[in-house]
Symmetry: C2
Subunit: 191 residues, 2 copies
């Protein structure tokens, strides 16, 4: 039996942001943060993301706004959605453990609450400075083969565990897909 919940996420995914905010409200449950490149995973799965279908995209925006509102989560649709999250997700991997959660908080909020353009290097540098992360070192590190391979490996690991989207929760080898299913994942671990 699992004593923790695996949480697969990508910062680019608005439902991952909502799930993350819900996770912060849980108590006495351990979550293992599993960063993936959602675009890469979709490619492995042969899935077209909702962002690339007009009606699905429109619905996703409305739905996220509504779910966030109902759950009292501050949310603002990012006007530059979607962007490539490769650098953001590699960035998560280069950080010391004690910086990771602050980084996640900062980048999730910047993108899904404050409508920041995270294609702009200046904006990223500002966020890193606020976190006291050396941006020169950060930008060098995310270009290293080691880090590139790590994100690929994490994404491939997710694929091999039948994960096909984000957010996904895994408890007792059972897959729960979507922020709507965090509740079921919690039921599973508490039963």
């Amino acid at each position: 039996m699992s004593n923790s919940i695996d949480f697969y996420f990508d910062i680019i995914s608005p439902y991952s942001y909502i799930a993350y905010k819900k996770i912060l409200r849980t108590q006495n449950i351990k979550f293992n943060y599993k960063p993936i490149l959602l675009g890469g995973l979709h490619k492995l799965e042969g899935i077209t993301a909702p962002a690339f279908n007009t009606h699905k995209m429109k619905n996703m925006k409305n739905d996220c706004e509504l779910v966030a509102y109902k759950n009292e989560i501050k949310f603002s649709w990012n006007s530059k959605f979607p962007i490539n999250s490769l650098y953001m997700m590699r960035g998560y991997l280069v950080l010391e453990d004690d910086k990771k959660i602050h980084y996640l908080d900062s980048f999730f909020n910047a993108y899904w609450k404050d409508n920041l353009d995270l294609n702009e290097k200046e904006n990223i540098i500002k966020l890193l400075e606020n976190l006291e992360i050396d941006s020169k070192h950060f930008f060098e590190a995310i270009e290293s083969e080691n880090v590139k391979d790590k994100l690929k490996k994490f994404t491939l690991d997710a694929f091999e565990k039948n994960v096909f989207g984000a957010p996904t929760f895994i408890v007792n080898k059972k897959i729960f897909w979507g922020q709507d299913r965090l509740e079921y994942a919690l039921d599973e671990i508490l039963k």
Copy 2:
């Protein structure tokens, strides 16, 4: 302001079945049943249904079983899923109004509760007989151009209203996609 909820469904969709069962439990809310051919809608949208992706399909089965269990809805994954729902959905259109809800109940239950093979004409005839529907007339009617066009028109109407999946609820021109969102549709109409 709407005084009723439009409910877009296809009998082939397990989440439509779950939504339908939830609808039966609501009180004092009028639902307008909007039959569509989900396969046709997906084609118009350029969407690959989850049934045609291995991991999504596996997840859909587990998820439906879990959602049904949590909501105390009797459910059994159909071992012949997916099948073409063209005849079933055309069949809904040829019936008198007072027969429609019984037909729906019978076919939803046969497919998603009793694991009946609805590719088998014999099974369909048996269901029709139980409903005192003349099966000879039924099979003739579903081949008529008028009925073919009607289902196409209903599906196209849904597409033009930005419906891209089933079940979908529309209230006050707002779209709520998925059985998970019936609650929000009810909130919308009751506010």
